[in-house]
């Protein structure tokens, strides 16, 4: 009998992998062996804990000690002090996790986790994703067992319908309705697909679920297949997610070995098989019809709907497609019941949503909150606020299809309908926080550059229209815009919205429309006064020396890389605007704060 008394969980998500978790695991092995306790302590590589900004993260159980930003050279101390002698190494702990009296707090009392509720992420950072037994230990495949041995396909759909689960991939379509359409199609070949393309810049919710808990998606897809009468599924995932692909493949192999995929699952006459299809990472391939075209082996381009995939999908047969996070909720809904799920969230948005928190915020990382949590709670309490004492200006949700939420609306509850009402959208869960130094015109330009790049070119409104919008934005940010340009931009945006072929083009104008809605004065400042109020658009920026404050100390002139600053010692200096490259070095060097951006 092995006497494992302590588990060391090392985050093996993509974030912590790039900050060196593999080395930590090796070092733990070495140090544990040296201390002679390698049989008593088990090192487990898990999925993402969520607090990526502080990676690599190591949690030691049973104490639940949360070590952050762990370095290779810290391991010896953790092993010798904590694991050998039971003295938690307080100075290496995440500050937030320590009470004043040096007692450590349980994880769910740390600010970052306190307001979170983990359903889709429940196993992430808790189990070893490459070990199916650990998934099973935390009730894995129990929902599938229940479905196959106790429920009819209709009953499964009824529970999902009753739960009011809506798609987490962006559009928020009721999941059960899709399943019902497909189930009602005549018997025959049908497919179940999973959308793990995750093309939004900055989003990594789906990747983290697949890296941390791949079996929950496999289990859910099998349940969906039973519900609609399918025997084959595909997971479409971008090749840019190598860790997720690798763990998913291992998970599929283990499930097959255990007979949880394949023929006669749980001794019933239901059979289901699952394969991975790799995408090349084009944003448009996340759109459902383009995704299926890509699985079929063609160039990933969308096609008009109807017919909807539930009727005519992959290879022309009824197909359902759901997002990774949507699936991750299914086993829990089956096990805990629709009533339980309905008890979480708001009237029309039930359950939780995972967000990838990024931008100007302390705790960049992955969070899961009940629907209806306000943006303020996410930014200030969970996210730990804006760094460097700066002020919150806006948050962007929904990526290139979404919009901005300004300060005045920071108390908006985050749910599908509230977000749509204010011109933003839930999207798939990217949440980028911006502070006073972010220029909203520049943000709109950033997303437009992305859509222009990613437009597949099949329809004219998107191919030509997005390009024209980008050109106007470039004109405005370089100081050559006119008031008429803003009017044209609005016109163009509304036309593209109503005429593009697929969601990519239809939503591409959103970042422009929503910034115009809340920050039109900022656009006006660019075109009328040729000024960027946030000081972000370089072409509109100039550095000047305030003569009253300048002591003529010459420091700025010595540091200017292009010799644009001149003057006489002890008299006010001046910056030659034609030579200045706006690098900002002088502003940082001036000891008297005499240099300002205008």
């Amino acid at each position: 009998m092995n006497l494992v008394r302590s588990h060391v969980l090392v985050c093996g998500g993509t974030g912590c992998t790039s900050s060196g978790c593999e080395k930590l695991i090796k070092e733990f092995d070495v140090q544990l062996a040296k201390a002679g306790i390698d049989k008593e302590v088990k090192v487990v590589k898990t999925g993402c804990f969520g607090l990526c900004a502080l990676g690599p993260i190591v949690i030691v159980y049973p104490e639940g000690a949360f070590y952050s930003m762990v370095k290779e050279e810290n391991i010896e101390e953790i092993v010798n002090e904590h694991l050998l002698k039971g003295r938690i190494v307080t100075h290496l702990l995440y500050d937030e996790s320590v009470h004043e009296g040096e007692e450590i707090k349980p994880l769910n009392e740390i600010d970052f986790y306190k307001k979170q509720m983990r359903i889709a992420l429940r196993n992430c950072g808790v189990i070893d994703p490459e070990n199916i037994d650990e998934y099973i230990a935390f009730d894995g495949y129990k929902a599938l067992g229940k479905v196959l041995t106790e429920m009819t396909p209709e009953e499964v759909i009824a529970v999902v319908k009753e739960s009011s689960l809506r798609g987490r991939g962006g559009a928020g379509f009721p999941t059960a309705l899709k399943w019902e359409f497909a189930a009602k199609q005549p018997k025959g070949q049908k497919f179940v697909c999973c959308n793990a393309d995750e093309g939004d810049p900055g989003a990594f919710m789906d990747r983290s679920i697949l890296e941390g808990d791949p079996h929950c998606v496999i289990e859910a897809m099998t349940i969906a297949a039973y519900a609609i009468g399918s025997n084959q599924g595909y997971i479409y995932i971008r090749a840019e997610y190598p860790i997720a692909v690798n763990r998913l493949q291992k998970a599929i192999n283990q499930a097959k070995e255990y007979g949880l995929l394949g023929d006669n699952i749980f001794g019933t006459d239901f059979s289901f098989d699952l394969e991975i299809r790799l995408g090349a990472g084009a944003f448009v391939c996340g759109e459902e019809t383009a995704l299926m075209t890509s699985i079929e082996g063609y160039r990933g381009e969308p096609r008009p709907r109807p017919p909807f995939p539930a009727v005519k999908g992959l290879w022309g047969v009824p197909t359902i497609l759901n997002n990774v996070e949507t699936y991750a909720n299914i086993p829990q809904i089956i096990l805990n019941g629709a009533e339980w799920f309905k008890g979480i969230g708001t009237e029309k948005s039930k359950g939780t949503k995972v967000f990838a928190l990024g931008g100007k915020i302390h705790n960049t990382g992955l969070v899961e909150v009940p629907m209806g949590t306000t943006l303020r709670e996410i930014v200030e309490e969970i996210g730990g606020g804006i760094p460097d004492g700066k002020k919150f200006k806006a948050a962007q949700t929904g990526g290139p299809s979404g919009g901005c939420i300004p300060t005045s609306l920071i108390d908006t509850p985050i749910d599908y309908d509230s977000l749509t009402k204010i011109g933003a959208m839930m999207g798939s869960g990217g949440l980028i926080v911006m502070d006073e130094d972010s220029c909203m015109v520049d943000i709109a330009k950033f997303f437009l550059e992305f859509t222009v790049d990613e437009s597949c070119g099949k329809c004219a409104p998107c191919r030509i229209g997005t390009k024209r919008m980008l050109e106007i934005l470039e004109k405005i940010t370089s100081g050559n815009g006119t008031v008429e340009d803003i009017e044209n931009l609005k016109d163009l945006a509304n036309t593209i919205k109503s005429s593009a072929l697929c969601g990519l083009g239809q939503t591409a104008p959103n970042p422009i429309l929503s910034t115009l809605k809340y920050f039109e004065d900022e656009y006006m400042a660019h075109v009328v006064e040729k000024r960027c109020p946030a000081g972000a658009c370089k072409d509109l920026l100039s550095y000047v020396i305030i003569a009253d404050k300048c002591k003529g100390c010459t420091i700025c002139a010595k540091n200017c890389p292009v010799n644009a600053i001149s003057g006489e010692v002890k008299k006010p200096f001046v910056i030659d605007q034609d030579t200045c490259i706006k690098c900002g070095v002088c502003e940082g060097k001036c000891p008297f704060k005499a240099i300002v951006r205008q």
């Binding site: 009998m1 006497l3 639940g64 050998l84 039971g86 003295r87 230990a137 935390f138 007979g259």
Partner: protein, 130 residues
Amino acid sequence: MKSLQELEAIRNKTLNEIHMRNDRTEGIRIVVGMATCGIAAGARQVLNALVDEVKKRNLSQVTVAQTGCIGMCRLEPIVEVYMPGEEKVTYVKMSPEKVARVISEHIVNKKAIKEFTVGSAEQQDKEERE
């Protein structure tokens, strides 16, 4: 996987190994003092015996943890038992043999073993001195 029983068997077997990752706020906690003094007095064997016993009996609501010096080095190895809603019980001069009794009488049958506790050890000390 041919039956739910098979699944349940894997679940139970593995849960025993990993239940310690569940939240620390619930269930019974047994803490062993593992500072140098404790280790020298044999705390590691006590710790291993506890882990072993808890596992043998499938006590999935019990976590065994370690801590640093509890402060009474001459009474090591020391084991503290925290039951929800009850005062902490401190056992001193523990041994692997005593562990079996603590688990069966205290943890399972909920009756603390007076003679192993710090209170009784101090009483004994006093009597010896008199």
